[in-house]
Amino acid sequence: MTNVLINAPKTAKKGEMIELKTLIMHPMETGFRPGTNGRLIPRNIIERFTASWNGAEILRMDFSPAIAANPFVSFFAVATESGKITFRWTGDEGFAVEESVAIDVA
């Protein structure tokens, strides 16, 4: 079970700039840390985060292990049309999570 928090307005005026904030639960294990047995804990990170508005990509971010655990990203988008904003996280060990929020643009 992956916990995702998304902070986005439910309604916006056409052409308005809105701020989107996302947070996802993930250890973002760097692969550089030794565990309790002295061996390195294998890398397990989210490699890519994308956001799209009704299917059109508005942001694509490639993470490195230097992104803190439970990655938080905030960014802006121009409200163009009603529909849904989809956020997608993919990473090591087959990690793939997708969340969408609906938005009304008037």
Binding site: M17, K21, M28, T30, F32, R33, P34, G35, T36, W53, A56, E57, I58, L59, R60, M61, D62, F63, S64, P65, A66, I67, A68, A69, P71, F72, V73, S74, F75, F76, A77, V78, T80
Partner: protein, 155 residues
């Protein structure tokens, strides 16, 4: 054994040791800023990088390097003809020089990204923005980290 010989040996050992100590940290500290420069070169190529139009915000004094809030924003009209295509963030002393690469477009309206990063040491953070016209802008920030990331499991 005469005292003079013993003292001479100790001093020689000390001098050699001190010389080694002074050389070693310098040699290892220089390696990673080079890696950052190489990573920046990979992104920018031979294009000129200009200062300005860009702000990189992060606290100057960081108590906990495990989650450091970072925001980077670039002044840009973000129109179809003139927008910020990408923002890259680099660091000097983490194990890897790259922090993140973000691809933006006119749909963002404002070229600004906020996130939280890990920092392994006091160092310089550099952000590079690429415009749709192929120009590059940069901003940098020096931070002091009192508790580095990655160390909590070693204690």
């Amino acid at each position: 054994m005469p005292g003079t010989t013993k003292r001479g040996t100790t001093r020689r050992t000390f001098v050699t040791g001190a010389a080694l100590l002074s050389v070693l940290p310098l040699a290892s500290a220089r390696a990673t800023p080079d890696a950052m420069a190489a990573a920046i070169k990979e992104v920018v190529g031979d294009n000129a990088i200009r200062e300005g139009r860009m702000t990189l915000d992060l606290p100057p004094l960081i108590e906990n390097g495990n989650a450091v809030p970072l925001t980077v924003s670039v002044e840009s009209p973000m129109s179809e003809a003139d927008h910020i295509k990408a923002i890259h963030v680099f660091n000097e002393k983490n194990p890897q020089p790259r922090v993140f690469d973000a691809r933006l477009g006119p749909g963002n309206g404002k070229a600004a990204i906020g996130t939280r990063i890990k920092l392994g040491d006091s160092q310089k953070i550099v952000a590079i923005a690429e415009t749709s016209k192929g120009e590059f802008f940069s901003a940098s920030a020096d931070v002091i980290v009192t508790l580095a990331a990655c160390l909590e499991d070693l204690t």
